[in-house]
C-alpha cells in the first residue's frame, strides 16, 4: 500500500505540517523575532555579535546601480555566493565556484555571464525571492572551502548540516548532500540526499533521496552508512546557542564545515521542513514532547547539549 493510516503515523510520532505550524511554530516562535532569521543579513550580524562563526561577508548590494561593484568586490576571490537576504527555501542562491580571467563558473562548469549576474541581483533587489515580494538586498558571501572529510561525498555543492533545535535542545539532525539532480543545492525537494545523524555521535543513521531510502550517493557512489560528521560537539554547541541568539523556540539551523574555520552558521530557519524525519527514519514528535515535558529550569548551552546527547541518541537503521 502506498498510503499509511493516520494512526500508524501518529504511533510512529511523525510530526505533520499542520501540527508543526500550529503547535510548534505558532506556539514557540514569536512573530517579533522572525526577522532575526528571515533576514540573513541580521542573522549574520547577530551571529557575529554572539561569537558564532559565519561565512565571510564580502559585501551587500542595496541598490541597482551598486550591482556594477560586484566584480570589484570579488576580484581576489576564488569563488563567491550571491544570496537574497530575505529569501526562503534556498531560492535565489547563486554559487560561483570558480573565478578566472573575469569569467565566472558554476560548480557544474557552466559559465555565468555578467548579464546573468546583473539580472539575478536585480531580481533579488526587486523582491522576487523574498516572502511577499518585499524589496530585498543581495548578500555577497565568501565561498566555503569545504572540509576534505566530505571529499567524494557530495556532488558539486557543499554538504550542509541541518539541526532542529527545540527550546535550545538539538533534537534531530541531518546531513544534506547535493547531487547532480539538485544542481549543487542542498535542498531535499530538489533532489539532494538527506542523511539522518545521531545526535549523540554525528554518525549517519539512515539516508534518503526524493523521500526514498538510499545507501549510496547517486553520483559519487560513496556509501552513506558509515559517515561520521567531524566537529560534532561544536556543531551541537553552535546550534544550541542559536536559540539564545534568536529566541525562537522551534528552529532549524543550517551549518557547513569549512576547511580552515570549522563549522560556520549558514542560516537559521523559523519554519524548518519535515523531511528530516524521513532522513532519520523516525518521527520528531516524541523528542519534542520530551522537551516540552521537562521542568523548565534554565540550562546552559553545555547542559542542553549534554542532555540532548544522552536522551536523543538512536541506532542506525540501514
Amino acid at each position: 500500500m502506498k498510503y499509511a493510516w493516520p494512526w500508524e503515523l501518529s504511533r510512529s510520532g511523525v510530526l505533520n505540517m499542520n501540527r508543526r505550524n500550529i503547535s510548534y511554530i505558532g506556539r514557540y516562535n514569536q512573530r517579533k523575532f522572525y526577522k532575526r532569521v528571515d533576514d540573513k543579513l541580521i542573522t549574520k550580524q547577530l551571529a557575529l555579535a554572539n561569537g558564532i562563526a559565519v561565512p565571510d561577508l564580502i559585501g551587500v548590494v542595496h541598490e541597482q546601480h551598486k550591482i556594477q561593484d560586484i566584480p570589484a568586490m570579488v576580484l581576489d576571490r576564488s569563488g563567491f555566493v550571491i544570496k537574497p537576504a530575505k529569501g526562503s527555501g534556498g531560492k535565489g542562491i547563486m554559487v560561483i565556484t570558480k573565478v578566472s580571467n573575469g569569467c565566472y563558473y558554476k560548480a557544474n562548469g557552466h559559465e555565468v555571464s555578467h548579464n546573468e549576474i546583473y539580472r539575478h541581483v536585480s531580481n533579488i533587489l526587486s523582491g522576487l525571492f523574498s516572502l511577499g515580494g518585499k524589496p530585498d538586498v543581495a548578500i555577497v558571501e565568501g565561498l566555503i572551502e569545504f572540509d576534505p572529510v566530505f571529499e567524494g561525498l557530495s556532488y558539486e555543492g557543499v554538504p550542509d548540516i541541518r539541526l532542529i533545535v527545540f527550546k535550545g535542545f538539538p533534537v534531530m539532525g541531518m546531513l544534506r548532500l547535493s547531487t547532480a539532480a539538485s544542481d549543487g543545492k542542498a535542498n531535499l525537494h530538489q533532489g539532494a540526499v538527506g542523511v539522518g545523524l545521531d545526535i549523540a555521535t554525528g554518525n549517519s543513521l539512515h539516508a534518503v533521496q526524493f523521500d526514498l531510502p538510499s545507501h549510496k550517493h547517486p553520483d559519487t557512489h560513496f556509501p552513506l552508512s558509515d559517515i561520521k560528521v567531524p566537529h560534532w560537539e561544536t556543531l551541537l554547541h553552535t546550534a544550541s546557542s542559536a536559540y539564545e541568539m534568536c529566541e525562537l523556540g522551534y528552529l532549524g539551523t543550517d551549518m557547513v564545515l569549512d576547511k580552515n574555520k570549522g563549522p560556520l552558521l549558514l542560516e537559521l530557519n523559523a519554519r524548518p521542513g519535515l523531511t528530516i524525519q524521513i532522513a532519520n527514519g523516525r518521527g520528531l514528535l516524541p523528542r519534542l514532547k520530551h522537551v516540552e515535558a521537562m521542568k523548565s529550569s534554565a540550562m546552559s548551552v553545555e547542559e542542553r547539549v549534554a542532555y540532548a546527547k544522552k536522551h536523543f541518541c538512536s541506532n542506525p537503521i540501514f
Binding site: M1, K2, Y3, A4, W5, P6, E8, L9, S10, S12, G13, V14, N16, M17, N18, R19, I22, S23, R27, Q64, K91, N115, Y118, R119, S122, N123, S126, G127, L128, Q190, V208, D211, L212, P213, L274, Q277, I278, G281, R282, G283, I317
Partner: protein, 502 residues
C-alpha cells in the same frame, strides 16, 4: 497555553447562528430552500356596483384578511372617488366616498393572494355566549325537539354542530326537520339551532377560488367556536373544514358591503390563477412587510449581481482551504485558483482552461525573450501585463473572426494575476525546470477547477445569495480547519516510509 474553549464556543455559535438564520429565512420569510420552486397565486378582482341617487355616496367594503392567504399586491381603482383603507388588521375595510353619485357606478378592488397553508382560524378570546334564538311559535316545538335529540347525542360543541349538519342534510328527513327547512334556509337554521344551545357560531362570507371564473358571488358559511378555534361548516354542501381554495373574505361578523346613498348595490368577483417563482413571491412579501431585514434584495439589480459574484468567493476559499490544509495540494499563489475559478464562471470551464493555457503558454514564450533583455523586475512584469492584454485581444479577435463566441469571454481573466503567474512560472522554469512548472501549474488549475465546480453549482449559487447565514457556517468551517493538526492526505503517502521502522 490559554484555553481553547472560548474559541470552540465562538465557532459553535457561528455555526448555530448561521444555520438557524438560514432556517428562519426559509420558514418565516418563505424563501424556498431549492431554486426554481413555484407557488400558486390568485389574482382576484372585486367589482362593486350600485346605482347613484344624485346625492353623496359612501361605500364601505370589507377587504380580506385571511391567515390562509398572504396579500402580495392590492390596489383599488375608482375614478372620482375618495378612498381610505382602514389599517385595522383584523377587520380591514375600504371606504370610497363621493359628493355626488348618479347613475350606475363601478368601483374596483384588485388583490393578489398567495396561499400560506395556515387554514386554522384560532382565537385567544373566548366569544360571548350568544343570545338564544327566539323561534316563531310555529317552529318552536319542532326545533326544540330536534335540538334536544341531537344535544343528547353529542359531547362537544363540535360534535353537536356535526350532528346538526348531518341531520339537516339527511335525505330521510323527519317531519320536524322538513317543517323547519321549509321556513328557513339550511344555513340560518343551523346557526339558530347552535345559538339556541348557547354555542358560539357566526355567519362568514367566503369566496370559492376557481381559475378563470367571473361574476362570482360570496357564499355564506358558518363558523362554530370550539376549543380556541373557529371551525368552518359549509352547511349547503354538508362539508366541514376548508381547503386552500376558499378565501374567507369577511369573518368578523360585519357586513361585506355597505352602501350609503345608492341602491342596487352588488359585489362581483372574478379570479385568475397564476404560477410564479416562490423566491420572487417571498421577496415581494418581504418588501411589503417592511421588516428589518438583512437581505440584499433591496439593492439595485446591478449591485445585486455584483454581490452574487462576490458571495461565491467564500465557497472558493473554502475549497482552497480544504485542499491545502486537509488534502495538502500545493498551488502557486494561495488564492490565485479562486480568481481563476471566478474567471471560469464567466468563460465556462473548457473555454476557460484552453484560454488560460494559451495565454500562459504565449506569455511564457514572450517572457523568455524578455528575460534576455535584462529588465528590472517591475518593468518586466509590466511588459508581461501589456503583452497579456495583446494576447487576449488577439485571441478575442481571432475567435470573433472564426465565429467562436466562447473565445470572446477570454477577456474575463484577471490580467495582472495572469502576468504574475507567467512571471512566477518562468522563474520556476529557470530554477527548477519545466517539470515543476507543470506540477505547480497543474495543481493550481486542478484546485481552480474544483473551486469552479463548487462555485458554479446552481444550488450553491442560490444558497450563498439567498441564505446569508451560510457564510457564517463557512467562516466556522474555515476557523475549525485552521485548528486541524492532523495529517494531510498527501502526508499519508509522504511519510509512509516512517511507519513501523522504529
Amino acid at each position: 497555553m490559554h484555553s481553547r474553549k472560548p474559541f470552540y464556543i465562538f465557532v459553535a455559535l457561528l455555526f448555530i447562528v448561521g444555520i438557524s438564520t438560514s432556517i428562519y429565512r426559509g420558514l418565516v420569510h418563505n424563501v424556498p430552500f431549492l431554486p426554481g420552486e413555484q407557488v400558486q397565486s390568485w389574482a382576484i378582482d372585486a367589482k362593486v356596483s350600485f346605482t347613484g341617487t344624485n346625492q353623496p355616496a359612501e361605500v364601505n367594503f370589507s377587504l380580506p384578511s385571511d391567515p390562509a392567504f398572504d396579500i402580495l399586491v392590492e390596489n383599488a381603482s375608482s375614478p372620482g372617488y375618495g378612498l381610505s383603507i382602514s389599517a385595522d388588521a383584523k377587520d380591514r375595510r375600504a371606504v370610497w366616498s363621493i359628493r355626488d353619485a348618479s347613475g350606475p357606478q363601478a368601483l374596483y378592488y384588485r388583490v393578489t393572494l398567495v396561499p400560506t397553508g395556515k387554514l386554522n382560524i384560532e382565537t385567544d378570546i373566548e366569544p360571548v355566549t350568544p343570545e338564544p334564538y327566539l323561534w316563531p311559535a310555529t317552529e318552536k316545538s319542532a326545533a326544540e325537539q330536534v335540538i334536544e335529540e341531537v344535544w343528547t347525542r353529542s359531547a362537544t360543541n363540535l360534535s353537536f354542530a356535526q350532528q346538526l349538519m348531518n341531520l339537516i342534510n339527511d335525505n330521510n328527513q323527519s317531519q320536524n326537520m322538513a317543517l323547519l327547512l321549509s321556513a328557513n334556509t339550511s344555513t340560518n337554521l343551523f346557526l339558530h339551532m347552535l345559538h339556541s344551545k348557547g354555542v358560539p357560531a357566526r355567519v362568514v362570507n367566503g369566496l370559492q377560488l376557481e381559475d378563470q371564473r367571473r361574476r362570482q358571488q360570496l357564499t355564506t358559511y358558518v363558523q362554530v367556536y370550539n376549543d380556541g378555534e373557529w371551525v368552518l361548516f359549509d352547511v349547503a354542501n354538508n362539508k366541514q373544514g376548508r381547503d386552500n381554495t376558499l378565501v374567507l373574505w369577511e369573518y368578523s361578523g360585519h357586513s361585506v358591503l355597505d352602501v350609503m346613498g345608492g341602491t342596487n348595490s352588488l359585489v362581483n368577483f372574478s379570479m385568475l390563477q397564476d404560477t410564479r417563482s416562490a423566491l420572487a413571491t417571498s421577496i415581494d412579501m418581504m418588501m411589503n412587510d417592511d421588516a428589518f431585514d438583512f437581505s440584499l434584495y433591496q439593492l439595485p439589480l446591478e449591485e445585486q449581481s455584483t454581490f452574487k459574484g462576490i458571495l461565491l468567493i467564500p465557497i472558493g476559499v473554502l475549497v482552497v482551504v480544504f485542499l491545502r490544509v486537509i488534502v495538502g495540494i500545493k498551488t502557486s499563489g494561495t488564492f490565485m485558483p479562486v480568481l481563476i475559478a471566478l474567471a471560469f464562471i464567466q468563460t465556462t470551464l473548457l473555454t476557460g482552461l484552453i484560454g488560460f493555457l494559451l495565454i500562459v503558454a504565449f506569455g511564457l514564450m514572450i517572457r523568455s525573450y524578455l528575460s534576455t533583455l535584462n529588465l528590472l523586475l517591475i518593468s518586466r512584469i509590466s511588459a508581461v501585463i501589456i503583452v497579456v492584454i495583446f494576447i487576449i485581444g488577439l485571441f478575442t479577435l481571432i475567435s470573433f473572426k472564426l465565429g467562436l463566441s466562447e473565445g470572446l469571454t477570454i477577456t474575463f481573466f484577471p490580467m495582472i494575476i495572469l502576468a504574475w503567474t507567467i512571471e512566477r512560472m518562468s522563474i520556476l522554469w529557470e530554477e527548477e525546470g519545466p517539470k515543476k512548472v507543470f506540477v505547480s501549474g497543474g495543481g493550481s488549475l486542478f484546485v481552480a477547477t474544483l473551486a469552479y465546480l463548487a462555485m458554479d453549482n446552481e444550488l450553491v449559487q442560490y444558497w450563498v445569495f439567498n441564505f446569508l447565514g451560510i457564510h457564517l457556517v463557512i467562516l466556522a468551517l474555515v476557523l475549525v480547519m485552521g485548528q486541524y493538526t492532523g495529517y494531510r492526505l498527501t502526508e499519508l503517502k509522504r511519510f509512509k516510509p516512517l511507519v513501523g521502522e522504529q
